[in-house]
């Protein structure tokens, strides 16, 4: 695909280029994130993990993917 057709999104503070209309599920699969160990925020709204195949990403979307780390 021509790079000009790609759109920019931000994932965990880093810019990424994706094809337009990519679903959130495809992005998570591409990033190889285990769904049962993460939570996802899209533009500061928590996303129900059961719905990610229905969400299509748009230019400028900001995604946060978090998990548990060691803490006190």
């Amino acid at each position: 695909m021509n790079i000009k057709n790609k759109i920019k999104i931000t994932v965990n503070g880093k810019q990424m280029q994706i094809i337009p209309e990519l679903t959130l599920k495809s992005l998570i699969t591409k990033l190889k994130m285990p769904l049962n160990k993460i939570a996802i925020e899209l533009n500061k709204k928590i996303i129900d993990k059961n719905r990610i195949s229905k969400i299509r990403l748009k230019k400028g979307d900001k995604i946060e993917i978090v998990h548990f780390i060691g803490g006190g």
Partner: protein
């Protein structure tokens, strides 16, 4: 004397020692220490996944949340909004409702920002969270947290990670007298005797991270803490003698030759 069960938000736990999972050299060292500590609750933090290193080990691969209760915290949060956002995300990962609220006010001394902590407790409780609250050792604030719906009061013994031990026993005792909620010392423990003292003051439990994680031998220190908590609890329940300024001979003078 039979001890009552250690219960938080209607859930019974076997161990009165809660262990933090931060600051260990590795996940395997952390998992080993948790095992020897006997803890059935561990605190965990919510952070961004490293998207550039997908194969990096994850805490959940080493500590099974089905076997040990994860207690998500709000470490690094300075406002109620930050704390709520963090705990909503934690809940989304796997449905956790029992949480540790920690809203800090100062990056150096890491003391809790109690106004924001109180506000967060109210908001989180309304949202259905069961909130265990890291707080200062002020009895009046502890009362307010209780009224706001906290399920456990967790005063500091000293600044987080300082290892200074219990600095204000009087306040802890006063809080103990006024509340029926689980009272758990959170922060400031340095060595096993500190954990025993906390339990002897009547606390229901102790939360320890740095004193175990940063010990030269974390696994052994974890065991020491486990024993200290058990020992301190038994000592508290056994009813100590009254302290006396003068001596009282253990051997009778009757029949002396």
């Amino acid at each position: 004397m039979i001890d009552k069960r250690f219960k938080i938000a209607n859930k019974i736990f076997k161990s009165r020692l809660i262990v933090g999972t931060g600051k260990y050299k590795s996940f395997s060292e952390c998992a080993k220490a948790i095992k020897t500590s006997g803890a059935d609750i561990v605190t965990v933090a919510v952070r961004r996944v490293n998207i550039s290193n997908k194969n990096k080990a994850r805490l959940m691969d080493y500590i099974d949340p089905k076997k040990i209760t994860y207690l998500p915290n709000t470490a690094g949060c300075f406002t109620a909004e930050d704390a709520i956002r963090t705990l909503r995300l934690a809940r989304e990962i796997g449905g956790w409702k029992l949480v540790k609220l920690e809203v800090l006010g100062d990056k150096r001394n890491l003391f809790p920002e109690m106004i924001e902590t109180l506000r967060s407790t109210e908001l989180l409780t309304k949202e259905g969270f069961k909130v265990m609250v890291y707080c200062n050792d002020d009895p009046l604030m502890a009362k307010r947290l209780e009224n706001a719906g906290a399920v456990a009061i967790m005063p500091l013994a000293a600044p987080i990670g300082s290892g200074l031990g219990i600095q204000n026993k009087v306040n802890i005792k006063i809080i103990r007298k006024q509340t029926k909620l689980p009272l758990i010392i959170d922060a400031g423990i340095g060595q096993a005797s500190d954990a025993s003292i906390a339990m002897e003051l009547g606390c229901d439990g102790v939360l320890i991270n740095t004193a175990i994680a940063k010990a030269k031998n974390p696994s052994q220190m974890a065991e020491a803490m486990k024993l200290a908590v058990i020992s301190g609890r038994k000592s508290y329940l056994s009813g100590r003698i009254n302290p006396n300024l003068f001596g009282s001979a253990s051997t009778t003078n009757k029949g002396i030759i």
